[in-house]
Symmetry: C2
Subunit: 290 residues, 2 copies
């Protein structure tokens, strides 16, 4: 009986075989949930790495290589997704399901949906997982284990396609959450996009400190290294995210600035009680998500 319900995608195409796309392919392969995986990308060297690592079964630099795929997963930087969808659209077979892993959703839906013919179903998605590494060699099968994956269906989303993509992410190990697009973009601005802006700014500020003729980053201990790990993330990917989720990100950057300015004022005025309360409030919130 279990066999009747076994989830299986005969052919999956992954456009952009990096950490996100490659790990989905590996996760589905690990449980026998996919037949053939077609890896598509612009960089041949990365595709060949993906092939050697067994992440994909066949590779191509042409979007037409997805013409027989049942599911196509877009995992290129978010601002490229409209162009990729436009290039894919004429090749996709009837009933094909297109889904993506982009970290912003309003911009992606806006850019992708207009290009798709009625016989192709689009399900916008975002697995909340990642590391600061990129490229096919960074992919691993357990990346999505225990992670949330947010799907943001629109009025246009086909219910059966949504259900299939939901099951695909569950099979890959994720807990799937359905969410309104705007809510997704605002929550991600807060818990992911803002922290990256903060980390990038912090490393640049400290790295620019030139009072002494040496690189003071050499003095950094484990705390600084852990804290700034995300500042090693891919610049192109984050340029696209910052541009693609501009409004929500600016709102969060301003909220952060307000708190930081309040703290600075407490330091300046030497208000020990307020400083303690500020740190304690933060510690309590942080400890609650351990």
């Amino acid at each position: 009986m279990a066999a009747v319900n076994k989830f299986y995608i005969p052919e999956l195409a992954v456009v952009g075989v990096g950490l996100i796309g490659g790990s989905l392919a590996l996760a589905l392969k690990a449980v026998g949930a996919v037949g053939r995986v077609v890896g598509i990308g612009r960089g041949r060297a990365n595709l060949e790495t993906a092939l050697e690592l067994g992440i994909v079964d066949t590779i191509s630099t042409e979007l037409g290589a997805a013409s027989n795929s049942d599911v196509v997963f877009l995992a290129t930087p978010v601002l490229s997704l409209g162009e990729v969808a436009a290039g894919l659209a004429p090749h996709l077979k009837s009933g094909a399901i297109l889904t993506d892993g982009g970290s912003v959703k309003a911009e992606v839906v806006h850019a992708v949906e207009p290009h798709l013919p009625a016989h192709v179903h689009f399900v916008p998605g975002h697995p909340i997982a990642g590391t600061e590494k990129s490229g096919a060699e960074a992919a691993f099968a357990s990346l999505y284990q225990g992670r949330r994956c947010i799907l943001t269906p629109t009025d246009e989303t086909d219910p059966a396609a949504l259900e299939l993509v939901r099951r695909m992410w569950q099979v890959a190990g994720s807990e799937v959450v359905l969410m309104d697009i705007e809510k997704h973009d605002r929550i991600l601005a807060a818990i992911s996009h803002l922290p990256h802006m903060v980390a990038y700014s912090l490393v640049n500020a400290v790295g620019s400190y030139d009072r002494y003729e040496e690189n003071i980053l050499d003095y950094s201990a484990g705390g600084f290294r852990d804290f700034t790990r995300i500042a090693s993330s891919d610049p192109s990917m984050w340029r696209d995210i910052a541009l693609g989720n501009r409004e929500a990100l600016l709102e969060m950057m301003e909220l952060f600035e307000k708190f930081f300015a309040e703290l600075k004022e407490d330091v300046r005025s030497g208000d020990g009680r307020k400083l303690h309360d500020f740190f304690l409030c933060s510690k309590k919130s942080r400890d609650a998500i351990l």
Copy 2:
């Protein structure tokens, strides 16, 4: 021959047996470099934990318990060190060496030195190590392995005492660096104190975001958790550090604000090239300290 040079402290007192103080005791014990360790503190429960864990050999809530100690290590919050030194001074034996692990040095030296009689030698120090945990149960013998320990001798520092403290930290596993006090405080403001202010502010800003009736911190993935780990650090300790290194910290907070404002402006204006360059510059600095 090696035995002739074996480093050995007959009796060490540790005032404040938490992560920093307890780990030094454990590190020295692990290599047989200390005879008896006297644990001194205000909280009896923590002292009893330290005793049970074998971190110290005897405990007391009285500073007079250090009267026979050769080396006294102060590991209480930085703004308490002046008061602790004043309380210790009348009890210390002639030739006793007092050293500390405070994260700021100008304030500590200013607060401690006036209390000490001529027959007690003070060596200001700061091991660059730690975790977000605190208390005796957080201590471990390898905390200082491979870490830097900065000593900031003043004009008053006795050379023989400095040499002994230097060897003590080397024996505990650290690479010892001598540094001017002001330089220490400015570098630490940059690589440690500023990041903590940023992390505390970030968690408070995100935790305060109340557009949705749920705690959006629940959506945070590994990146956010790693990035904000230091926001779990002890509020009293960080209140003291912020107050004790105010001038240098304010300078760094302003430098950070300048970079963050620049980034915000690039997001607002949608300048993809500038965003990419900003992120790439940060990534290069960060990757260089991996």
